[in-house]
Point group: C2
Chain length 208, copies 2
DNA sequence: CGTATGCTCAAACGATCGTTTGAACGCCTG
DNA sequence: CAGGCGTTCAAACGATCGTTTGAGCATACG
Protein backbone atom coordinates (compact mmCIF):
# COMPACT_ATOMS: atom_id res chain seq x y z
CA UNK A 1 0.00 0.00 0.00
CA UNK A 2 0.91 3.61 -0.24
CA UNK A 3 2.20 5.70 2.57
CA UNK A 4 -0.53 7.89 4.06
CA UNK A 5 1.71 10.90 4.35
CA UNK A 6 3.72 11.26 1.18
CA UNK A 7 6.86 12.84 2.54
CA UNK A 8 8.44 12.86 -0.91
CA UNK A 9 6.32 15.82 -1.97
CA UNK A 10 8.61 18.06 0.01
CA UNK A 11 11.68 16.70 -1.72
CA UNK A 12 10.08 16.87 -5.14
CA UNK A 13 8.95 20.44 -4.63
CA UNK A 14 12.37 21.52 -3.42
CA UNK A 15 13.97 19.96 -6.48
CA UNK A 16 11.49 21.66 -8.80
CA UNK A 17 12.07 25.01 -7.11
CA UNK A 18 15.83 24.77 -7.26
CA UNK A 19 15.67 23.54 -10.85
CA UNK A 20 13.63 26.57 -11.88
CA UNK A 21 16.20 28.91 -10.36
CA UNK A 22 19.23 27.19 -11.82
CA UNK A 23 17.71 26.57 -15.25
CA UNK A 24 16.91 30.27 -15.46
CA UNK A 25 20.43 31.22 -14.41
CA UNK A 26 22.55 28.69 -16.27
CA UNK A 27 20.29 26.96 -18.78
CA UNK A 28 19.26 23.36 -19.03
CA UNK A 29 22.66 22.05 -19.98
CA UNK A 30 24.60 24.50 -17.86
CA UNK A 31 22.93 23.56 -14.58
CA UNK A 32 24.26 20.27 -13.26
CA UNK A 33 22.36 17.87 -11.04
CA UNK A 34 25.03 18.30 -8.38
CA UNK A 35 24.54 22.06 -8.21
CA UNK A 36 20.81 21.53 -8.34
CA UNK A 37 20.54 18.95 -5.57
CA UNK A 38 22.98 20.89 -3.41
CA UNK A 39 20.84 24.03 -3.76
CA UNK A 40 17.72 22.04 -2.96
CA UNK A 41 19.36 20.38 0.03
CA UNK A 42 18.61 16.88 -1.19
CA UNK A 43 20.67 13.92 -2.20
CA UNK A 44 22.10 13.67 -5.70
CA UNK A 45 20.20 10.47 -6.46
CA UNK A 46 16.87 12.04 -5.53
CA UNK A 47 16.38 13.52 -9.00
CA UNK A 48 16.61 10.20 -10.76
CA UNK A 49 14.54 8.53 -8.06
CA UNK A 50 11.67 10.99 -8.21
CA UNK A 51 11.76 12.06 -11.86
CA UNK A 52 13.58 9.27 -13.71
CA UNK A 53 16.08 11.48 -15.49
CA UNK A 54 17.18 15.07 -15.92
CA UNK A 55 15.12 15.45 -19.09
CA UNK A 56 11.99 14.33 -17.28
CA UNK A 57 12.75 16.89 -14.60
CA UNK A 58 12.91 19.61 -17.24
CA UNK A 59 9.48 18.55 -18.49
CA UNK A 60 8.05 18.69 -14.99
CA UNK A 61 9.45 22.17 -14.43
CA UNK A 62 7.44 23.28 -17.45
CA UNK A 63 4.35 21.29 -16.55
CA UNK A 64 4.13 22.67 -13.03
CA UNK A 65 3.72 26.22 -14.32
CA UNK A 66 2.29 25.85 -17.79
CA UNK A 67 -0.61 23.59 -16.80
CA UNK A 68 -2.16 26.25 -14.62
CA UNK A 69 -0.98 29.16 -16.77
CA UNK A 70 -2.59 27.90 -19.95
CA UNK A 71 -5.67 26.72 -18.12
CA UNK A 72 -6.10 30.25 -16.79
CA UNK A 73 -5.58 31.66 -20.28
CA UNK A 74 -8.25 29.45 -21.81
CA UNK A 75 -10.64 30.11 -18.92
CA UNK A 76 -10.17 33.86 -19.29
CA UNK A 77 -10.70 33.62 -23.03
CA UNK A 78 -13.84 31.58 -22.53
CA UNK A 79 -15.39 33.90 -19.99
CA UNK A 80 -14.51 36.89 -22.16
CA UNK A 81 -16.36 35.43 -25.11
CA UNK A 82 -19.24 34.38 -22.90
CA UNK A 83 -19.74 37.84 -21.45
CA UNK A 84 -19.50 39.48 -24.83
CA UNK A 85 -16.27 41.27 -23.97
CA UNK A 86 -14.40 39.84 -26.89
CA UNK A 87 -12.74 42.84 -28.43
CA UNK A 88 -9.08 42.55 -29.34
CA UNK A 89 -8.08 44.10 -26.04
CA UNK A 90 -10.03 41.48 -24.11
CA UNK A 91 -8.46 38.57 -25.98
CA UNK A 92 -5.02 40.01 -25.38
CA UNK A 93 -5.88 40.52 -21.72
CA UNK A 94 -6.82 36.86 -21.44
CA UNK A 95 -3.48 35.94 -22.92
CA UNK A 96 -1.24 38.38 -21.09
CA UNK A 97 -2.77 38.73 -17.61
CA UNK A 98 -2.21 35.15 -16.38
CA UNK A 99 1.40 35.20 -17.55
CA UNK A 100 2.07 38.56 -15.97
CA UNK A 101 0.45 37.52 -12.73
CA UNK A 102 2.68 34.45 -12.69
CA UNK A 103 5.77 36.54 -13.35
CA UNK A 104 4.94 38.64 -10.30
CA UNK A 105 4.72 35.65 -7.99
CA UNK A 106 7.40 34.32 -5.70
CA UNK A 107 9.70 32.74 -8.24
CA UNK A 108 7.44 33.03 -11.23
CA UNK A 109 9.65 35.58 -12.95
CA UNK A 110 12.40 33.00 -12.99
CA UNK A 111 10.12 30.64 -14.82
CA UNK A 112 9.45 33.25 -17.47
CA UNK A 113 13.17 33.33 -18.06
CA UNK A 114 13.20 29.57 -18.36
CA UNK A 115 10.41 29.90 -20.88
CA UNK A 116 12.32 32.52 -22.85
CA UNK A 117 15.27 30.15 -22.96
CA UNK A 118 13.07 27.41 -24.31
CA UNK A 119 11.95 29.76 -27.07
CA UNK A 120 15.52 30.58 -27.98
CA UNK A 121 16.62 26.98 -27.97
CA UNK A 122 15.62 25.27 -31.14
CA UNK A 123 15.94 21.91 -29.44
CA UNK A 124 13.52 19.65 -31.25
CA UNK A 125 12.49 17.38 -28.40
CA UNK A 126 11.66 20.32 -26.16
CA UNK A 127 9.73 22.13 -28.89
CA UNK A 128 7.86 18.95 -29.64
CA UNK A 129 6.94 18.54 -25.99
CA UNK A 130 5.65 22.10 -25.76
CA UNK A 131 3.78 21.84 -29.05
CA UNK A 132 2.12 18.55 -28.13
CA UNK A 133 1.01 19.66 -24.70
CA UNK A 134 0.21 23.33 -25.13
CA UNK A 135 -0.09 23.88 -28.87
CA UNK A 136 -3.87 23.92 -28.72
CA UNK A 137 -3.81 27.05 -26.55
CA UNK A 138 -1.90 29.06 -29.12
CA UNK A 139 -4.12 27.66 -31.83
CA UNK A 140 -7.26 28.82 -30.05
CA UNK A 141 -5.93 32.33 -29.51
CA UNK A 142 -4.77 32.48 -33.11
CA UNK A 143 -8.28 31.59 -34.27
CA UNK A 144 -9.65 34.37 -32.11
CA UNK A 145 -7.22 36.87 -33.57
CA UNK A 146 -8.18 35.74 -37.05
CA UNK A 147 -11.84 36.37 -36.26
CA UNK A 148 -11.14 39.86 -34.91
CA UNK A 149 -8.78 40.82 -37.72
CA UNK A 150 -10.54 39.46 -40.79
CA UNK A 151 -8.95 41.93 -43.17
CA UNK A 152 -5.50 40.42 -42.61
CA UNK A 153 -4.25 37.59 -44.77
CA UNK A 154 -3.24 34.41 -43.02
CA UNK A 155 0.41 35.08 -43.68
CA UNK A 156 0.13 38.65 -42.47
CA UNK A 157 -1.68 37.57 -39.31
CA UNK A 158 0.80 34.85 -38.41
CA UNK A 159 3.62 37.26 -38.85
CA UNK A 160 2.14 39.89 -36.58
CA UNK A 161 1.30 37.33 -33.92
CA UNK A 162 4.85 36.07 -34.12
CA UNK A 163 6.25 39.55 -33.61
CA UNK A 164 3.89 40.30 -30.73
CA UNK A 165 4.62 37.06 -28.89
CA UNK A 166 8.30 37.68 -29.39
CA UNK A 167 7.99 41.09 -27.79
CA UNK A 168 5.95 39.78 -24.88
CA UNK A 169 8.24 36.84 -24.23
CA UNK A 170 11.26 39.07 -24.38
CA UNK A 171 9.73 41.63 -22.06
CA UNK A 172 8.33 39.24 -19.51
CA UNK A 173 11.57 37.30 -19.22
CA UNK A 174 12.62 40.15 -17.00
CA UNK A 175 14.91 42.46 -18.85
CA UNK A 176 14.54 44.97 -16.09
CA UNK A 177 11.79 47.06 -17.57
CA UNK A 178 8.95 45.25 -15.89
CA UNK A 179 9.94 45.97 -12.34
CA UNK A 180 7.86 47.29 -9.56
CA UNK A 181 8.15 50.99 -9.06
CA UNK A 182 8.51 52.17 -5.48
CA UNK A 183 5.69 54.68 -5.43
CA UNK A 184 2.83 52.49 -6.60
CA UNK A 185 1.28 49.42 -5.09
CA UNK A 186 1.93 46.02 -6.59
CA UNK A 187 -1.61 45.66 -7.85
CA UNK A 188 -1.57 49.07 -9.50
CA UNK A 189 1.75 48.43 -11.17
CA UNK A 190 0.59 45.06 -12.45
CA UNK A 191 -2.46 46.75 -13.96
CA UNK A 192 -0.33 49.47 -15.53
CA UNK A 193 1.99 46.90 -17.05
CA UNK A 194 -0.86 44.87 -18.46
CA UNK A 195 -2.44 47.90 -20.08
CA UNK A 196 0.95 48.84 -21.44
CA UNK A 197 1.55 45.51 -23.09
CA UNK A 198 -2.01 45.34 -24.41
CA UNK A 199 -1.72 48.76 -26.04
CA UNK A 200 1.58 47.78 -27.63
CA UNK A 201 0.14 44.49 -28.89
CA UNK A 202 -2.98 46.19 -30.26
CA UNK A 203 -0.83 48.71 -32.12
CA UNK A 204 1.31 45.91 -33.56
CA UNK A 205 -1.67 43.83 -34.63
CA UNK A 206 -3.94 46.52 -36.04
CA UNK A 207 -1.59 48.99 -37.75
CA UNK A 208 -2.68 49.60 -41.39
CA UNK B 1 59.28 36.15 -39.14
CA UNK B 2 55.73 35.53 -40.16
CA UNK B 3 54.67 33.11 -42.80
CA UNK B 4 53.83 34.91 -46.03
CA UNK B 5 50.82 32.76 -46.70
CA UNK B 6 48.85 32.37 -43.51
CA UNK B 7 47.44 28.92 -44.01
CA UNK B 8 45.85 28.97 -40.57
CA UNK B 9 43.13 31.30 -41.81
CA UNK B 10 41.47 28.34 -43.44
CA UNK B 11 41.44 26.38 -40.19
CA UNK B 12 40.26 29.37 -38.17
CA UNK B 13 37.48 30.12 -40.60
CA UNK B 14 36.32 26.53 -40.67
CA UNK B 15 36.22 26.47 -36.89
CA UNK B 16 34.25 29.72 -36.77
CA UNK B 17 31.81 28.45 -39.36
CA UNK B 18 31.23 25.15 -37.64
CA UNK B 19 30.95 26.91 -34.27
CA UNK B 20 28.23 29.18 -35.61
CA UNK B 21 26.23 26.21 -36.82
CA UNK B 22 26.60 24.14 -33.67
CA UNK B 23 26.10 27.04 -31.25
CA UNK B 24 22.85 27.85 -33.05
CA UNK B 25 21.72 24.23 -32.89
CA UNK B 26 22.85 23.16 -29.43
CA UNK B 27 23.84 26.29 -27.57
CA UNK B 28 27.18 27.32 -26.18
CA UNK B 29 27.30 24.69 -23.48
CA UNK B 30 25.57 22.02 -25.49
CA UNK B 31 28.03 22.06 -28.37
CA UNK B 32 31.26 20.28 -27.44
CA UNK B 33 34.65 21.00 -28.92
CA UNK B 34 34.80 17.43 -30.17
CA UNK B 35 31.59 17.77 -32.16
CA UNK B 36 32.75 21.18 -33.33
CA UNK B 37 36.21 20.18 -34.52
CA UNK B 38 34.84 17.02 -36.12
CA UNK B 39 32.31 19.08 -38.08
CA UNK B 40 35.02 21.53 -39.12
CA UNK B 41 37.37 18.73 -40.11
CA UNK B 42 40.18 19.95 -37.89
CA UNK B 43 42.02 18.56 -34.93
CA UNK B 44 40.59 18.85 -31.44
CA UNK B 45 43.51 20.90 -30.19
CA UNK B 46 43.13 23.46 -32.97
CA UNK B 47 40.52 25.45 -31.05
CA UNK B 48 42.77 26.03 -28.06
CA UNK B 49 45.74 26.67 -30.33
CA UNK B 50 44.03 29.31 -32.45
CA UNK B 51 41.61 30.86 -29.96
CA UNK B 52 43.02 30.06 -26.53
CA UNK B 53 39.85 28.61 -25.04
CA UNK B 54 36.25 27.81 -25.85
CA UNK B 55 35.06 31.07 -24.30
CA UNK B 56 37.39 33.08 -26.51
CA UNK B 57 36.00 31.18 -29.49
CA UNK B 58 32.50 32.24 -28.51
CA UNK B 59 33.64 35.84 -28.42
CA UNK B 60 35.17 35.57 -31.87
CA UNK B 61 31.99 34.06 -33.28
CA UNK B 62 30.22 37.21 -32.15
CA UNK B 63 32.95 39.57 -33.24
CA UNK B 64 33.15 38.20 -36.77
CA UNK B 65 29.53 39.15 -37.46
CA UNK B 66 28.79 41.99 -35.05
CA UNK B 67 31.78 44.14 -36.02
CA UNK B 68 30.56 44.58 -39.56
CA UNK B 69 26.87 44.49 -38.64
CA UNK B 70 27.09 47.34 -36.15
CA UNK B 71 29.47 49.30 -38.35
CA UNK B 72 26.90 49.09 -41.13
CA UNK B 73 24.18 50.18 -38.74
CA UNK B 74 26.09 53.24 -37.60
CA UNK B 75 27.09 54.10 -41.16
CA UNK B 76 23.49 53.87 -42.31
CA UNK B 77 22.34 55.99 -39.41
CA UNK B 78 25.00 58.58 -40.16
CA UNK B 79 24.21 58.86 -43.86
CA UNK B 80 20.50 59.04 -43.07
CA UNK B 81 21.01 61.99 -40.78
CA UNK B 82 23.38 63.60 -43.24
CA UNK B 83 20.95 63.42 -46.14
CA UNK B 84 18.08 64.73 -44.05
CA UNK B 85 16.19 61.44 -44.24
CA UNK B 86 15.97 61.05 -40.51
CA UNK B 87 12.35 60.25 -39.93
CA UNK B 88 11.53 57.38 -37.60
CA UNK B 89 11.24 55.03 -40.56
CA UNK B 90 14.72 55.93 -41.73
CA UNK B 91 16.31 55.32 -38.33
CA UNK B 92 14.57 51.97 -38.08
CA UNK B 93 15.71 51.13 -41.59
CA UNK B 94 19.29 51.83 -40.57
CA UNK B 95 18.88 49.48 -37.66
CA UNK B 96 16.97 46.67 -39.32
CA UNK B 97 18.31 46.50 -42.87
CA UNK B 98 21.90 45.44 -42.08
CA UNK B 99 20.68 42.73 -39.72
CA UNK B 100 18.16 41.42 -42.18
CA UNK B 101 20.69 41.44 -44.99
CA UNK B 102 23.00 39.40 -42.80
CA UNK B 103 20.25 36.94 -41.95
CA UNK B 104 19.73 36.33 -45.66
CA UNK B 105 23.36 35.48 -46.29
CA UNK B 106 24.91 32.03 -46.48
CA UNK B 107 24.88 31.10 -42.81
CA UNK B 108 23.90 34.47 -41.45
CA UNK B 109 20.52 33.26 -40.30
CA UNK B 110 22.27 30.80 -38.03
CA UNK B 111 24.12 33.66 -36.44
CA UNK B 112 20.86 35.46 -35.72
CA UNK B 113 19.82 32.37 -33.81
CA UNK B 114 23.07 32.48 -31.88
CA UNK B 115 22.34 36.10 -31.12
CA UNK B 116 18.84 35.28 -29.92
CA UNK B 117 20.34 32.68 -27.62
CA UNK B 118 22.70 35.25 -26.19
CA UNK B 119 19.73 37.48 -25.45
CA UNK B 120 17.91 34.69 -23.67
CA UNK B 121 20.93 33.67 -21.65
CA UNK B 122 21.41 35.96 -18.73
CA UNK B 123 25.04 34.93 -18.51
CA UNK B 124 26.84 37.88 -17.01
CA UNK B 125 30.21 37.55 -18.72
CA UNK B 126 28.62 37.30 -22.16
CA UNK B 127 26.30 40.24 -21.52
CA UNK B 128 29.23 42.26 -20.26
CA UNK B 129 31.22 41.46 -23.40
CA UNK B 130 28.36 42.52 -25.66
CA UNK B 131 27.69 45.66 -23.63
CA UNK B 132 31.33 46.71 -23.58
CA UNK B 133 31.89 46.19 -27.29
CA UNK B 134 28.59 47.11 -28.87
CA UNK B 135 26.69 49.06 -26.22
CA UNK B 136 27.47 52.38 -27.87
CA UNK B 137 25.51 51.38 -30.96
CA UNK B 138 22.32 50.80 -29.01
CA UNK B 139 22.94 54.00 -27.09
CA UNK B 140 23.22 56.01 -30.28
CA UNK B 141 20.02 54.61 -31.73
CA UNK B 142 18.24 55.17 -28.42
CA UNK B 143 19.28 58.81 -28.48
CA UNK B 144 17.91 59.11 -31.99
CA UNK B 145 14.62 57.58 -30.96
CA UNK B 146 14.43 59.97 -28.03
CA UNK B 147 14.89 62.90 -30.40
CA UNK B 148 12.16 61.70 -32.74
CA UNK B 149 9.72 60.80 -29.96
CA UNK B 150 10.09 63.75 -27.60
CA UNK B 151 6.61 63.40 -26.12
CA UNK B 152 7.50 60.03 -24.56
CA UNK B 153 8.94 59.86 -21.07
CA UNK B 154 12.29 58.16 -20.67
CA UNK B 155 10.71 55.20 -18.98
CA UNK B 156 8.05 54.89 -21.66
CA UNK B 157 10.61 55.14 -24.44
CA UNK B 158 12.92 52.51 -22.99
CA UNK B 159 10.03 50.18 -22.57
CA UNK B 160 8.87 50.51 -26.15
CA UNK B 161 12.37 50.08 -27.50
CA UNK B 162 12.73 46.97 -25.37
CA UNK B 163 9.54 45.50 -26.76
CA UNK B 164 10.46 46.34 -30.34
CA UNK B 165 13.95 44.88 -30.11
CA UNK B 166 12.47 41.78 -28.53
CA UNK B 167 10.10 41.37 -31.44
CA UNK B 168 12.82 41.90 -34.02
CA UNK B 169 15.27 39.55 -32.33
CA UNK B 170 12.61 36.92 -32.00
CA UNK B 171 11.50 37.28 -35.59
CA UNK B 172 14.94 37.39 -37.15
CA UNK B 173 16.14 34.35 -35.26
CA UNK B 174 14.26 32.43 -37.88
CA UNK B 175 11.02 31.18 -36.49
CA UNK B 176 9.93 30.25 -39.96
CA UNK B 177 7.99 33.37 -40.77
CA UNK B 178 10.81 35.22 -42.44
CA UNK B 179 11.42 32.78 -45.23
CA UNK B 180 11.73 33.43 -48.89
CA UNK B 181 8.58 32.95 -50.84
CA UNK B 182 8.86 31.03 -54.08
CA UNK B 183 7.19 33.55 -56.35
CA UNK B 184 9.23 36.62 -55.57
CA UNK B 185 12.88 37.38 -56.05
CA UNK B 186 15.22 37.44 -53.09
CA UNK B 187 15.72 41.16 -53.33
CA UNK B 188 12.00 41.88 -53.47
CA UNK B 189 11.27 39.62 -50.54
CA UNK B 190 14.02 41.24 -48.48
CA UNK B 191 12.51 44.63 -49.22
CA UNK B 192 9.02 43.43 -48.31
CA UNK B 193 10.27 42.01 -45.03
CA UNK B 194 12.11 45.19 -44.12
CA UNK B 195 9.06 47.34 -44.79
CA UNK B 196 7.02 44.88 -42.77
CA UNK B 197 9.25 45.08 -39.73
CA UNK B 198 9.57 48.84 -40.00
CA UNK B 199 5.80 49.33 -40.08
CA UNK B 200 5.43 47.06 -37.04
CA UNK B 201 8.16 48.91 -35.16
CA UNK B 202 6.69 52.33 -36.04
CA UNK B 203 3.30 51.22 -34.79
CA UNK B 204 4.80 49.93 -31.56
CA UNK B 205 6.84 53.07 -30.97
CA UNK B 206 4.31 55.73 -31.90
CA UNK B 207 0.97 54.40 -30.69
CA UNK B 208 -0.79 56.95 -28.43
C1' DC C 1 6.98 -8.54 16.32
C1' DG C 2 8.42 -9.25 11.58
C1' DT C 3 8.50 -7.57 7.28
C1' DA C 4 7.34 -5.10 3.34
C1' DT C 5 7.56 -0.30 1.46
C1' DG C 6 9.01 4.44 0.43
C1' DC C 7 12.68 7.16 0.71
C1' DT C 8 17.54 8.87 1.55
C1' DC C 9 22.28 8.34 1.44
C1' DA C 10 27.42 7.80 0.22
C1' DA C 11 29.90 5.76 -3.22
C1' DA C 12 31.00 4.39 -7.51
C1' DC C 13 30.01 3.70 -12.64
C1' DG C 14 31.45 4.80 -17.48
C1' DA C 15 31.20 8.64 -20.51
C1' DT C 16 32.35 13.02 -21.94
C1' DC C 17 33.92 17.52 -20.98
C1' DG C 18 37.78 21.49 -21.88
C1' DT C 19 42.50 21.63 -21.86
C1' DT C 20 47.48 20.34 -22.17
C1' DT C 21 51.36 17.90 -23.92
C1' DG C 22 55.14 16.58 -26.88
C1' DA C 23 56.23 14.65 -31.04
C1' DA C 24 55.80 15.14 -36.00
C1' DC C 25 55.04 17.64 -40.27
C1' DG C 26 55.63 21.22 -44.04
C1' DC C 27 57.62 25.31 -45.39
C1' DC C 28 60.50 29.39 -45.55
C1' DT C 29 64.88 31.54 -44.56
C1' DG C 30 69.74 32.12 -43.92
C1' DC D 1 71.49 21.66 -46.26
C1' DA D 2 70.46 23.02 -41.52
C1' DG D 3 67.53 25.28 -38.48
C1' DG D 4 63.57 27.74 -36.91
C1' DC D 5 58.74 28.48 -37.05
C1' DG D 6 53.82 27.88 -37.55
C1' DT D 7 50.77 24.34 -37.58
C1' DT D 8 48.68 19.73 -37.00
C1' DC D 9 48.23 15.52 -34.73
C1' DA D 10 47.23 11.46 -31.43
C1' DA D 11 47.16 10.80 -26.79
C1' DA D 12 46.48 11.73 -22.32
C1' DC D 13 45.23 14.88 -18.29
C1' DG D 14 42.07 15.79 -14.30
C1' DA D 15 37.46 17.33 -13.68
C1' DT D 16 32.75 16.88 -14.02
C1' DC D 17 28.80 15.02 -16.14
C1' DG D 18 24.14 11.94 -15.67
C1' DT D 19 23.10 7.71 -13.86
C1' DT D 20 23.18 3.38 -11.06
C1' DT D 21 23.91 0.69 -7.04
C1' DG D 22 23.18 -1.36 -2.57
C1' DA D 23 23.08 -0.51 2.08
C1' DG D 24 20.51 2.01 5.71
C1' DC D 25 16.60 4.20 7.79
C1' DA D 26 11.86 5.10 9.03
C1' DT D 27 7.19 4.04 8.84
C1' DA D 28 2.87 1.25 8.05
C1' DC D 29 0.60 -3.18 8.02
C1' DG D 30 -0.40 -8.23 8.67
Amino acid sequence: MKAIVNRSSSTKERILGAAEVLFAQRGFEGASLRQLTAAAGVNLAAVNYHFGSKDKLVEQVFRRRLDTLNAQRLAALGSARESGNDRLEDVLDAFIRPALKLSHEDSGSLFMRVLARAFAEHDDSLRQFLSENYGHVMRQFTAEFARLLPHLSKEELYWRIDLVTGALTHAMSGFGMIQRKQDVSEGAHLEQTIQHLIRFAVAGLTHP
